[in-house]
Amino acid sequence: MPDPHSVPDRPRRGPRLAFRGWRARRPFWGGLLLALGGGEILLTEKASLKVVLHIGMQGLAGYLLPTLMVLLGLLILFNPSQRLFYSITGVLLSLGTWLTSNLGGFFLGLLLGVTGSCLAFGWLPDQEPRVSRRERRRRARAEARALTAEGAEGTA
């Protein structure tokens, strides 16, 4: 982490930083993994459309569920405010592909979809920057010491 005192006056600009900022404002990995999971499942399906239509609704569901997973992943990326609904629907669809689409794209797509949905569900905007566990413990100790010192002053 750079020293805050050495930061240039004007914030730096560039496509990479702009992307970093864009990513910071949405559950990026959640949406991406969900969309990739749907894509992977679609890649494992190659039955011709004629056969699928011949089977009817059950055959169609094999394509419908992963397609919806891709859409929900993209919606999480581009409309993050609705992420709760998208991620809950996404996790149900991901689990459903186990039955409809080649065991969830031979498990890989299902795993990606469920992981992505959980990440999107657990995401919250505008959080404190990450603090390492060691740092947290050090701060807690310092706080406790300050408190005991105050207490000692009070009794004295």
Partner: protein, 232 residues
């Protein structure tokens, strides 16, 4: 949803007080200062969904392995091999047909994307020691099922094959029907095409090269999926 009340309570220890004040208000994106406020995954919140989802996934896998759940496959486009030591079925139909690959498929070669196939439809089928393998180039994806006491069962099983071999026995077979008039299983072919149908079918040492397999319900007890150097 923005949880701002704890802004001042955390990170305000004597060490770094005062230095991390305003950048995020100026510009929430492009700063590399000590404390840009970013969205973040909270582990406990994610676990609220992850734990039940994992449980459901495990339940589905267990139920499938026990044969209580039907699982639907829709792979093909690449040819794959299916073998079984024994196939028993009621309601059997067979007719010729053409399968079309997706436009511009790399598997098309000089065939114009069309594969001549024999479509076999079986209303109710029971298979012993089912094995299915797809050659992925260098390695094979191998699926086996039904080697234990429970056998693989399928309803409305339809396979589009280019090769089929085995020792077959049919009951009440009708050969030379028009494919559009078949009535023993739930499939119909195009009009004017040769076909045959039978009440029951039994094929031992079945071996098929398929382009598509579909089934209304496909129960696979004792399912095992793995990569292997050799196919079925």
């Amino acid at each position: 949803m923005a949880s701002s009340p704890d802004v001042s309570s955390a990170g305000n220890t004597p060490e770094n007080s005062g230095s991390d004040t305003p950048p995020e208000t100026l510009n929430d994106a492009g700063t590399t200062t000590g404390a840009p406020r970013r969205g973040r995954v909270r582990a406990r919140r994610a676990a609220v969904m992850a734990v039940p989802a994992t449980l459901v996934a495990a339940t589905l896998a267990v139920l499938t392995a026990q044969g209580a759940l039907g699982v639907q496959f829709a792979i093909s486009g690449m040819p794959f091999t299916v073998t079984a030591t024994e196939l028993n079925g009621t309601g059997f139909e067979q007719f010729g047909g053409l399968d079309n690959m997706a436009e511009g498929s790399p598997n098309a070669g000089d065939t114009g994307g069309q594969v001549l196939v024999v479509t076999s439809a079986i209303k109710n089928a029971t298979l012993t020691k089912l094995c299915q393998s797809v050659d992925l180039g260098g390695t094979n994806l191998l699926i086996t099922a039904g080697s234990g006491a429970n056998k693989v069962t399928a309803t409305d099983l339809t396979t589009d094959s280019t090769e089929l071999s085995g020792d077959a026995a049919f009951n009440n077979i009708e050969i030379g029907n028009d494919a559009s008039t078949l009535n023993k299983a739930n499939a119909k072919g195009p009009i004017g095409v040769f076909s045959q149908q039978a009440d029951t079918v039994r094929i031992a040492n079945l071996r098929q090269t398929n382009y598509a397999t579909t089934a209304g319900v496909f129960k696979l007890p004792g399912l095992k999926l793995r990569f292997s150097d050799s196919g079925c």
